[in-house]
Symmetry: C2
Subunit: 299 residues, 2 copies
């Protein structure tokens, strides 16, 4: 059974005349005859009674006529639906990012993504930035927003979105005499400053490196998981922290801390979009990608 045969059948069912039906269907009379016969063989029942003077539907033919109409209209409907739906890019895309990134970067990103691709649904998963890359590697997520890691697996692709400097922050109201209000003069001073640092991750690596160039072993007051918590602790006056500026910009506690200019400055945090290279062919991922390409500056 195929769509054409159904059309031919209906032409014949209407005209009850092979000649006129075949003309209507733009095929030869013999093709019409064979199409009908083939349908009948396939179904195992005659659809028309023909003697040389007249053609009439059998009861089965009548039932088949109903079927044929239904099936054709269903097919047309499907084609219409599918072509409608394919006019706009659509589907679902999964994205993983940290809570902070969801506030700052993702907000801008989605503000521009949504109007351009209103039919792409985003499945957003927020969580520990550490897991971002592994989840993309495992295929759990198609995209993530993360800082460029020290070493990026070959199968992944990184697209920078923005850089955010790592800044030192001090409390407005220090709780400890060793907390400086301006940049400490030398390494000796630095060694006394109570530091509140990330437990790990890029920021921590950078800070460690920074102290190493000063030849100072920092006094670590607290190691914290999550940049937001660092801002929180610093605002309480417990020490000096190091966080990406973007975290500060989005922190409700930003008023309670102050950035501390330091030299040399730390290498900035490089935030970007990460996906598995194979996903780059996925039109939905491409769409997301294109938004990042967009000329409008993000910050």
């Amino acid at each position: 059974m195929n769509i054409k045969s159904l059309h031919h059948f209906l032409a014949l069912a209407q005209t009850l005349h092979f000649g006129r039906a075949s003309e209507e269907a733009n095929i030869s009379l013999s093709a019409m005859s064979r199409h009908i016969r083939q349908l009948e063989n396939e179904l195992g029942v005659p659809l028309f009674t023909r003697d040389n003077r007249s053609v009439a539907l059998t009861p089965e033919g009548s039932a088949f006529e109903t079927y044929a109409r239904e099936t054709l209209s269903r097919w047309d409907q499907l084609k219409k639906e599918l072509s409608d739906s394919s006019e706009n890019l659509h589907g679902e895309i999964s994205l993983y990012c940290s809570v902070t990134a969801s506030y700052s970067i993702l907000f801008d990103l989605l503000n521009r993504f949504r109007p351009r691709f209103p039919d792409i649904d985003i499945k957003l998963q927020t969580g520990d930035p550490e897991h971002a890359i592994s989840r993309v590697l495992a295929g759990d997520e198609e995209l993530c927003i993360a800082a460029h890691p020290a070493s990026l697996p070959k199968t992944l692709y990184f697209k920078p979105i923005t850089k955010s400097p790592l800044v030192f922050i001090t409390p407005i109201n220090p709780n400890d005499k060793d907390i400086p209000t301006s940049q400490p003069k030398d390494g000796q001073h630095w060694a006394q400053v109570p530091m509140i640092l990330s437990q790990g991750g890029i920021a921590r690596t950078r800070v460690d490196q920074w102290f190493k160039t000063l030849k100072v072993t920092p006094r670590i007051y607290a190691q914290v998981a999550g940049n937001e918590a660092i801002v929180s602790m610093v605002s309480l006056g417990l020490g000096v922290g190091v966080v990406p500026k973007i975290v500060l910009d989005n922190s409700p506690l930003a008023q309670r801390v102050r950035t501390l200019p330091v030299t040399p400055t730390l290498l900035p945090y490089e935030l970007g979009l990460i996906t598995a290279k194979r996903n780059l062919k996925n039109p939905l991922v491409e769409a997301f990608w294109s938004v990042v390409d967009a000329p409008e500056p993000l910050l």
Copy 2:
């Protein structure tokens, strides 16, 4: 679109692997690839995203999967319905006969037809026997039960069911001195008998012929349309009638009249089934035909 392609599509949608899907569908891998591509071309949208390592349904593919399942199950259902319905002969057949025939012949006929072909509906039209043949000729009815006419059109076919003698009937209580109680001796007697005859039709032709061989001009007391009315008038004692015996057998007035043996006897009425020759190919007509063929005697 055809049934096969749908099956192939579903195989691929399930396995998401061209190799295994093609194996399942018993076609080559390349055929599978091209079938899917053809479907996609036909619909104008991709159904699968494929990179060399993986195959996945697009949103459109997912919609099409639903469609494919529905369509296939609908098709199977139809096939089942049609083959079920074709196990027994069924449909509608139209039949015309006189009221008398419907009492006598049709009753026996249907008693045997119904159990053998319970799914054939009969559209029965009763009416004047004169119209029977013309209605079949015109195609208004497929069958009729009628007496074999003097000349049967070539396009019609007659199948005898039974013969019924034409009998003379006399009243039990005659109302007229010229009504004989036994066979009149000679033509002169016959010429005085008040006759009640059909207005026309075969019976009348036969009676006219009969009187002609006796070289008698009959005294016609009444010409009547309808054999039943003849019985009625005879029973009232108004004269001698001639009717097919079968009419008498089914008449409620049979007790009020008596058959009058005569020589020579009239040629019997030949009752049978009539249809247009072209209808003989119609399996429903054939079915009816076969019941008449049946060995069981009708009378």
